[in-house]
């Protein structure tokens, strides 16, 4: 069972960020331990003469090559469609990929995506040949609109970026899964625990994208491994078919020929 992103099959259903780790070495070890083959990264203002960005870029390239993976540039920090489109084009030139984690933030307090600007940006980018993976809220209609525009992958949030609050609105997320059965759904942002990721997979989500939950753990490498296993457990549980909940108790042990003390 593999994750399909715009026709590309991947062994792991975990997409992982490259930020906030205690060191580049731990970042590399954690990514390797997670089994992820999709690594997110970004662009920022830097003076190339200082070579800082060049060093980070070289290190990330090593990691991606080692895991036979793919880069997923994001548009973090953008607040308008125009900003996101410009940053996307800059990313495509540097990273040589059409994949794009599209972020357009509408509120600084909770970093909530701006649905209006997000749709505008997605429409322009798809016309320009990008394979857009939009980071969005758990609004069903917004997800439908993004899918209708041509986003084969939709990435609703679990909760605001970096909060670790897990799945705030399971009903919304389940409804999106139910109503968009053909879309590749990846839960993005707000994941805190491996059980959060497992729950998303049990709902039938196709994957999970996270960063802080691993990078900010006491032991990021071990946590990365735990998330990889949690996704596998959740996926297998979903595929196996989870039993229906029942309102009343049903004995697990057969009641026929129970011991004599129950027969009066």
């Amino acid at each position: 069972m593999s994750l399909n992103i715009y026709g590309q099959n991947l062994d792991s259903r975990l997409l992982i960020g490259s930020a906030l780790y205690p060191s580049p070495q731990i970042m590399k070890q954690a990514i390797l331990a997670s089994g992820s083959q999709v690594i997110t990264l970004s662009l920022k203002r830097q003076n190339p003469a200082e070579q800082a960005g060049q060093q980070i870029w070289s290190y990330l390239q090593e990691v991606v090559t080692e895991v036979n993976g793919h880069l997923l540039p994001n548009t973090a920090g953008c607040k308008t469609a125009k900003e996101a489109v410009t940053l996307a084009k800059m990313s495509r030139e540097i990273f040589q990929t059409d994949w794009l984690k599209l972020e357009v933030i509408g509120d600084d307090y909770n970093l909530q995506p701006d649905p209006i600007e997000l749709l505008h940006a997605a429409e322009q980018l798809i016309k320009d040949g990008f394979k857009v993976l939009p980071y969005c809220t758990d609004d069903l209609v917004l997800c439908q609109r993004l899918y209708d525009l041509g986003c084969e992958v939709i990435m609703p949030w679990a909760s605001p970026i970096g909060t670790g609050k897990g799945l705030m609105n399971p009903y919304n997320l389940e409804t999106i899964r139910l109503r968009l059965p053909e879309a590749t759904l990846i839960l993005d942002a707000g994941i805190g625990k491996p059980s959060d990721a497992c729950l998303a997979m049990e709902m039938g989500y196709d994957g999970v994208l996270l960063n802080s939950a691993v990078a900010l753990a006491d032991n990021p490498v071990l946590m990365a491994k735990a998330f990889g296993q949690a996704l596998q457990a959740g996926e297998q549980g979903y595929v196996a078919g989870i039993m229906q909940q029942r309102q009343t108790a049903h004995p697990s042990t057969p009641t026929l020929d129970t011991p004599f003390w129950h027969q009066n």
């Binding site: 830097q46 960005g53 870029w57 994001n74 973090a76 410009t86 800059m90």
Partner: protein
């Protein structure tokens, strides 16, 4: 004239306009030697257009490089 690169002002006393290539060479390094992308006044400028795209007084260049991200 003055131009801004990554928010910092750079005076160019004797010119009315220069190419993106020249601006980068003046204030950074040879474009071939590093990994970066450029936007002029918020619009992307591809590498193939550095020589023909002009920077004028008051213009802003953004020079971006890879960074870790989530």
């Amino acid at each position: 004239m003055n131009i801004h690169i990554n928010g910092k002002a750079y005076p160019l006393s004797n010119e009315t306009h220069i190419s993106v290539s020249s601006a980068l060479t003046l204030h950074f390094i040879e474009p071939q030697q590093s990994t970066f992308a450029v936007a002029l006044n918020g619009d992307f400028v591809g590498k193939t257009d550095y020589d023909t795209t002009m920077v004028k007084n008051g213009d802003s260049l953004d020079v971006l490089q890879p960074i870790q991200g989530g």
